[in-house]
Amino acid sequence: MNSMLKASVAALALGVASTSAFADGLSGDLRIVSDMSNPAPRAVMEGLVADFGAANPDLNIELEIVDREAWKTQIRNALTANAPDVVNWYAANRMGPYVEAGLFEDVSDMYEDGSLPGLEAVKGAMTLDGAQWGVPYTFYQWGIYYREDIFNELGLTEPTTMEEEMANCQVILASGRKCYAIGTKFLWTAGGWFDYMNMRTNGFDFHMELARGEVAWTDERVVQTMANWAALIEMGAFIDDHQSYSWQEALKFMTDGDATAYLIGNFAVAPMRDAGLDDSQIDFYQFPLIADVPQGEDAPTDTFHIPAQATNKDNARAFLAFVASAEVQTAINAGAALGQLPVNADSSVDADEFLEQGFDMLSTNAQGGVAQFFDRDFPAEMASVGMEGLQEFMVFPENVDDILARLEEARQRIYE
């Protein structure tokens, strides 16, 4: 008994030591496979490895960066055969298949033993079956990005309710522009609109019930969501032929001034700036209110995980603690790096118009709750059937009954 106590105290001390000093003393190997393949994230990932390596000179770190899209299917092989020690993935339901198959390491111990100070707020997104399966490293807000200069020209102000939103839209349409750019060729952008229409019409809790398959798609509350959405579609608020564009291609309508707003994640700011818009021309507002329900927001979180079959789990845990620490979070999410929001409550948000607004919105004005995104909150099969139906709805809103019946049929099969 005594010796056991001693051992556990020693282990605890060791744990604290290794986290407070992820700075030194690690040796052996650490093999990381990352999906941060776009230019800015890639530089961040390489920087992280360089810094971690500099602090642990005896540690042999091997970093492999794979294409972000390809990783969505490759991860399965990577986790089962010759698993690396650290991998990237996404929070919430997207972890489901790997958690169920026992391929992700349970890292609840890190949340309990104090290795991850400042992460209490985001713990929920990493929790499945009562345990935590990884650490987040970045997240970003969704909301309406709009052309401030065109709003000024037309004498419009940021709306807070759907009536104001539609009144604005009427003015925008009268000026020969479209209200919203969107590209639904790859479907998920339509999922973003549904998330917001449903969370504003029926509230965050209802949206999550729908995601968990507890409510029928043919429920009159969902029908109401679709009716609210159809009102926008039928007034011609969205650009034509959006089913033929990717979200990047549709961005051109906004940068050319043919559409005035875009419901999208904060990652769209960088390409807008690259296209020549400056911060006096773009601005951001929270998706307007529809019903009197607490606002829920989409804020997808990207994560690091340890495969269950990893060989250097202690080194991997130290790396996860390093990535999630307050200073590192401040540095990698800065405007010049990832340009997103830090997950650690103790880190600071970079002085950037959009990051500040987004952080403010999520910390003070998302009382309903924070969702991940349609394709991360809904199970994979429901998400793919659902987004296809939502794309069809945006082109042929009159097919709504048929679409909802089809989704309901899929729900009954998928969640059984």
């Binding site: 399965r76 089913q243 033929s244 793919s384 794309q391």
Partner: protein
Amino acid sequence: MSTSTHRSWYKRNEIAVTPWLFLIPGIAMFALYVIIPIFQSFWISFHEWDGLGEKTWVGLDNYERLLGGDRKFETSFWNNLKWLVLYLLAIPMGLFISLFLNQKVFGIRLYKSLFFFPFVISQVVVGLVFSWFYLPGDQGLLNNVVGVFGLGPYNILGSPDTATYGIIAAGLWPQTAYCMILYLTGLNSVDPEQVEAARLDGAKGHRMLWHVILPQLKPATFIAFVVTIIGALRSFDFIAVMTNGGPFGSTRVLSFYMFEESLSEFGFRMGYGAAIAVVLFFIMLGFIGYFLWSMYQDEKGAR
């Protein structure tokens, strides 16, 4: 006498055994990569499996769902039929172009290679070029051309009624070139004496083509038919590049649906994907069986 009894077993059976020895590597590879996976697909299609955990035996459930009114399956099946029928247009078009090009004028080789060019470039590139050609609004070349005549604008790939036809048209471009080259080589072996004799008998124009030239091109037609059917069933690349199965799944074919269910980002329903593969296998087996049978009939007739 004594030498013959002392010859080794191999020496005695050399003539019977040697062909099999040469065939073994090929048979082993074919079995490993083709025959065994076919039976594995059959096996997987009776299960529910996410590719990671344990397989769950579900019997014929996958087939009941697939053939019992899965709308995605029905759309894919009809699209496959559209591909099979319309893709065959490549054969008469290829024949027409080859007749047109089968003449001796200056630079004809250059013209032939230009016509053959679309078959040389990757299908992915052809798909991309056509999707730019079809771009909606006033961005695409097509809408600019029909706009001159006061028509359009059309969104060919964005409308569920036209998207599949748009992709098939893109596919016909390289396939026509392929059929053309088959017919050009076929035309080289047309017997000039028969043409001469037919001409003396007063045959010309389409009668000459139908009764004298075409019968001699029968081997080329047969091959063109086979490669076109196979090409129609391999339409995956065009669909993936041009519409990704959309809009709202209206351009899926069976192979694309199988890929989506089993290997795409939101897929990994291996059992259901395997069931689609099995159905596709039997459809293809029907065609292949027909070709083997007709080849057999031809050879029997030739004997």
